[in-house]
Amino acid sequence: MSCAPVTVFACGERERGDDAVAYAIVDALPPGLRGRIAVVRDGMLDAGSLMALPEGAPAVVVDAVAGVAPGEVVVLPLADLAGLARSSPRSTHWMSIDATVALVQTLLGEPVEGTFVGVGLRDCDFGAPLSPEVAAALPAAVAAVAAAVEALEAADRGVAR
């Protein structure tokens, strides 16, 4: 039990259409919940930021994702996400979220506790607003992040679920 607040990492680029969805989600979280969590607007998930969390402190990572339908909300334990990382990344302008989590798990020697919430994107054009599909998915995505935070808080308090 860490007693540390849940940290929500909002990843993406604010100026690029659906890639800004994580910021819209954290801005729309209920005020009561926002007061209990730490929010890191990280652009790209940084391994150092993840490693700097207090021992056992859980995290929720939020980002736009490709490969699912626009607006579809995907929820995965971070440990499962790490399992999706390619062992030999094809390109490294920097590491993808799955590779970052996998690297941090390897460095820590234990699974990273937390949840990934992704929202399927349609367009990432510069200066564009959220696409209609992603904008329509915001309530569900906000609810998914809130549920993830509450589940992690409950687990941290030792409440059986």
């Binding site: 940084d46 490693m51 094809r90 490294t92 302008h93 920097w94 390897t106 460095l107």
Partner: protein, 434 residues
């Protein structure tokens, strides 16, 4: 008809390089006849995108060419515009630009040494795999990259794709206190950079003894970032604006990136850390120069591309040590940017990206809007050297199983730290109408 044995080695996706490329090697009768570094990442037409834009817009647009070395593109562009418009920048702005570049070198060189290249020498397929047994080293690499990104954030407003560089200076300059806040991290980073040099010097390196033609900027008093003359290891010494008179670009079948060659010379040339350390090593920061001497690797850096990892580590020390000195010397300038007036004409400049010389040429109209643009990134210039080294050395690997041969060839390519995304921004578009 001759009875020939043809073996074709194809690496369809090069790993641990920036961007997407491939390698095809053709072997006939036991001789490597062709090596082709295929750059199939789609062209991005930046040279056309900037036409009609203002200089300050261009500076932000070209930063988007690369997420690892955006400062290189910004610096080459802003210096070209300032040369054309006759802008004299404040000495402190000049220092801040060196600091911004140092930040980029730290994050880019640190990334390459630790995450992309070191796994080759230690026998791992990735940095993630390496992390299990080399935790301390990987944490060191992550920390170095973070310090570099933090410099970009403080000076450029963002850790990736900074947005503060403007013709005449910056849109905003930091306070002295903001820069001083970087000092403890930089002091720690300097120790980590020194440890990096000692770490990579201990790596077992494949033997290679191939003297190379090096090209870099050379400044009389400083290790080169933003200023200097174009020099080579075989006597070239011309103003940076004369790149087009000394070099030329040309298309090669099977790749979306132009190659480049030194006019009137046989064979390729090499840019980047090995070239800079060889041509400008006497202007390294004293701490870096002393460490280079301690490694005893200066000779190997000249003839063995695998030893470029040592040159990168030495430059990490240089960039970090100079960054500390700039932080200490900094006093905010009277104003963040000097005023300027556009004029028609053309101008060219080159600066030293982490991977080597990044050349820009712009034409502007009376309002300063761009009429023409040429961008020559370092990776495109290094392609010919990479292919020549592959042809020359792959013959000695032919007895190896394909998987091991592929691994060794990839290691050689990674020694050049190619940034394929950077190299696909300048494809000439030719439409044949019949």
């Amino acid at each position: 008809m001759t009875d020939t044995a043809v073996r074709r080695i194809a690496v369809h996706e090069l790993t641990r390089v920036e961007g997407e490329g491939s390698l095809t090697l053709e072997v006939r009768d036991g001789q490597v006849t062709t090596a082709r570094l295929g750059i199939f990442e789609a062209p991005r037409y930046f040279e056309k995108i900037v036409v009609g834009r203002t200089p300050d817009e261009v500076i932000d647009i070209v930063a988007r060419i690369c997420g690892i070395c955006p400062v290189a593109y910004q610096m080459s562009a802003v210096h070209a515009f300032e040369a054309l418009f006759g802008v004299r920048i404040d000495p402190m702005v000049r220092l801040l630009r060196r600091l911004l570049y140092a930040g980029e070198w730290i994050e880019s060189l640190g990334l390459h040494v630790y995450m992309l290249h070191a796994p080759d020498f230690l026998g791992y397929e990735s940095a993630i795999a390496m992390a299990a047994e080399h935790r301390e080293a990987v944490v060191r690499g992550l920390a170095l990259k973070k310090v570099g990104n933090e410099i970009l954030r403080v000076l450029g407003g963002r850790a990736i794709h900074p947005v503060s560089v403007r013709v005449g200076g910056f849109s905003r300059v930091p306070t002295r206190r903001e820069l001083q806040a970087l000092r403890p991290q930089l002091e720690h980073a300097l120790e980590q950079a020194k440890a990096t040099v000692r770490w990579v010097t201990g790596f077992a390196m494949p033997h290679l003894d191939r003297p190379m033609r090096f090209v870099a900027l050379s400044h009389p008093r400083e290790y080169p970032y933003n200023e200097g003359r174009l020099v080579s290891s075989d006597g070239l010494d011309v103003p940076v604006e004369h790149w087009n008179e000394a070099f030329e670009e040309f298309q090669v079948e099977g790749t979306n990136a132009l190659h480049a060659r030194l006019i009137g010379a046989d064979g390729p040339y090499l840019l980047g850390p090995a070239a800079r350390v060889t041509l400008c090593g006497d202007r390294l920061h004293p701490v870096a120069r002393s460490l280079l001497a301690e490694t005893g690797m200066a000779g190997a850096i000249r003839t063995n591309i695998y030893a470029s990892i040592v040159a990168r580590a030495v430059e990490l020390v240089h960039a970090t040590a100079e960054a500390i000195e700039i932080v200490d010397a900094y006093r905010p300038p009277a104003r963040p940017a000097e005023p300027w007036t556009p004029r028609a004409g053309s101008s060219a400049w080159a600066t030293e990206a982490p991977r080597g010389l990044c050349f820009h040429r712009y034409g502007c109209d009376e309002a300063g809007r761009i009429t023409a643009c040429q961008i020559v990134p370092p990776t495109s210039q290094n392609q010919a050297a990479i292919e020549a080294d592959l042809v020359a050395t792959a013959g000695s690997l032919l007895d190896l199983p394909d998987a091991e041969m592929t691994r060794r060839l990839e290691q050689m390519i990674r020694s050049y730290d190619p940034c394929i995304s950077c190299a696909t921004h300048f494809l000439d578009l030719t439409v044949l109408r019949r």
